[in-house]
Amino acid sequence: MLQIDLWKRVLIWLVCAAGIMLALPNGFYTRVEQANDAAADIIAKGETPERLEVAGQWPDYLPSGLVNLGLDLRGGAHLLAEVQVGDVYEARMDALWPEVRDALRPERATVGTFRRQPGASDQIRLRLSKPDGMARALEVVRGLANPITTLTGVGANDIEVSAEGDILVVQLSEAEKIASDDRTVRQSLEIVRRRIDEVGTREPTIQRQGADRILIQVPGIGSASELKKIIGTTAQLTFNPVVGRASDADASAGVGNKVVPSLDEPGVYYIIEAAPVVTGEDLVDAQPSFDQNGQPAVTFRFNTSGARRFGDYTAENIGSPFAIVLDDEVVSAPVIQSHIPGGSGIITGNFSIEESTNLAVLLRAGALPAELVFLEERTIGPELGQDSIDAGKIATIVAFVAVLVFMGLSYGLFGLFANVALILNIALIFGMLSLIGGTLTLPGIAGIVLTVGMAVDANVLIFERIREELKAGRGPAKAIDEGYSKALSAILDANITTFITAVILFAMGSGPVRGFAITLGLGIMTSVFTAIFVTRLMIVMWFERRRPKTIEV
């Protein structure tokens, strides 16, 4: 009747022991964290006596997984950025324009002269002086299209060419826009990740959210604006031919050109060709250094194709100025003195040492393909996080003790069994959290406290049932057995329904709320496990030893 197979007993105790072992490192949080960091450093940067000593603070044979502390507990910054995927369309059109121009030039006889018209920035609009030649123009420009592979669009091309009266319109096709958006977001994600890794902070979360958003969470960083500086909204480096100089931003630039301000000379503007000769994408290296006057500067080197284009351009344009443009500001506009064949150069400006270092980092990491707009910014100071941890600790301990005492008073010995199970329960929650690398947040602590309250529910259901069976005149063994089997359906139904809501919270929630869902969900699983298996095993073991004639629950 009250029999539990030996293998089951062993398994139950093993699970409990494993839970305690996994939870153990969290009791020595700072020490284990330092040891883990040192161990990681040894792998990454080699052994030093200090690192070995710190790593030795926690023995190898014990588990060293820790519960991650959420931003609200550790302090840090949270950003939700939207990638302006449309930016890329414009760059693509600007890059396409010289190709279109070169393709149409030999056809002047049929299409006449053509001019680029101002219009939406994600289109090229050309007015042809001989509209009769439109058919030929369409044919020529369509020849520039590249086929793309999509799931649905068979034979789709990357550009769409159409005619509106005497105007020829070139724009990206819908299929290409979708593909381009996806590439842009993935590229941005990668670049954000690289930039944050360059700074080397602990366990940043960088995730894609939805179609065009990126969630960035970096614990331990001072503020969201500091984080934004690291991500550096663009750092787009280009080298453009200079058309002329202007004195105000509204100067008419002409189609295909644009007006950009100078970085360090107020009131000076340059008119440059919008299509760059070389871009930062062709950079292979950038390092902070000093120019011949001892001023901080950044040296850079192009890859082979970048070096060739840069070399060809400088060879053909000796004597004319070109602009080094960073984020739509002209850093400097030197006149090309000679052919620069090697593909390396130096950017000078009025930089401080720190600025030149940052610029080098940004250039190395690559430019973001599109602008990021920040929809959500959160900074949580480390002091507030520590306060929350302290408050949460005290509250959990008090809640715990109150429930332990209450259960002891209400159910006597059986209450003690439930209490042992409750302690195991908390250990199991922390063990599982460490194992899956879950994140503990402030609502997560609330979830644990709630679990402390609710975890005893399954035991209460069972004990009340045993009381009823005893009242109905059954013997102790029979009453315990019946109590467990009859309470089971209520326990399962009640916990499955709560579990459903935890799953929905996890799926729909984000950040702290998700942390709550995790601890609530884990708490439900562990409390059912401890109630059905652990307390039962304890009661059975006690019963086997004592064989009481009567029991009081």
Partner: protein, 322 residues
Amino acid sequence: MRLRLVPQETSFDFFKRAKLWLGISALMMVVGFASFLFQGLNFGIDFRGGTTIRTESSETVDVGAYRDALAVHGLGDVSITEVFDPAFEEDQHVAMIRIQAQDDGEAISGEIIETLKASLDAVAPGIKFVSVESVGPKVSGELITTAIIAVALAIAAVLVYIWLRFEWQFALGAVAALVHDVVLTIGVFSELQIKFDLAIIAALLTIVGYSLNDTVVVFDRVRENLRRYKKKDLAEVLNLSINETLSRTVMTSVTTLLALISLYVLGGDVIRGFVFAMIWGVIVGTYSSVFVASTILLKLGVKRDWTKQANTTGNQFGNIDA
């Protein structure tokens, strides 16, 4: 000697004043809903967009001076409240500043925050911004939608689960209790103007879970007793079941409340609203599983015969000699 909150044997008649209880519940729901309609919820920035700044200073908080210092920046509606908590140090003065959402979809920028800090520093030297949270109106709109979907989805999932495990009458009773709890909780938040943010949605869903937990335990016993006492009428069976589970209902509510109250008192002011919602939810949830869910089950009636298939075709042998 054992501590007993509920006598060993109880035989309360929970349906003697069923109409009164249902009336009170309905009235409370109407009041709560009206409060929600006319007064509205005090939405946090998660749902309304905007910026909250938590400041900490060793100087006492002078709300008027703070307001004047911030007014020059022309950021629209700015509200400042001082925060008190017994856990604070003597020279720890905390205030929450809330700034309305600015026109564009973006969050407020770091430079603006720095200028605000500089202005406040003139009023309260050494002021620290311990947390700054800014949500653009574009995201907050989506967060509302997600939250509403989450609550609706949870209720629907539960409805289906109980319908599968019990009978549709049970599912309706349980869901009526859930809706009752959710409406009353939202009503309390709107009546007391407590900040309603994402965490409160989590609390609402937990209340849904907890209230259900309670209801399901009672219903489980009802199902069992319906099989056992085939002749008793429904009201008697329901009463018996509630009485039998009463001790457990009270025990669980008390342990949960013990834990929550300690969190409410000691857990710090950051999650106080969240914990308040849960305390309220546990009380309301316990009440509703007895007085709403069961009463509705009683009104709906329930199929009693669990052993035989319903015989809807009449007497098959009745027409033989016709």
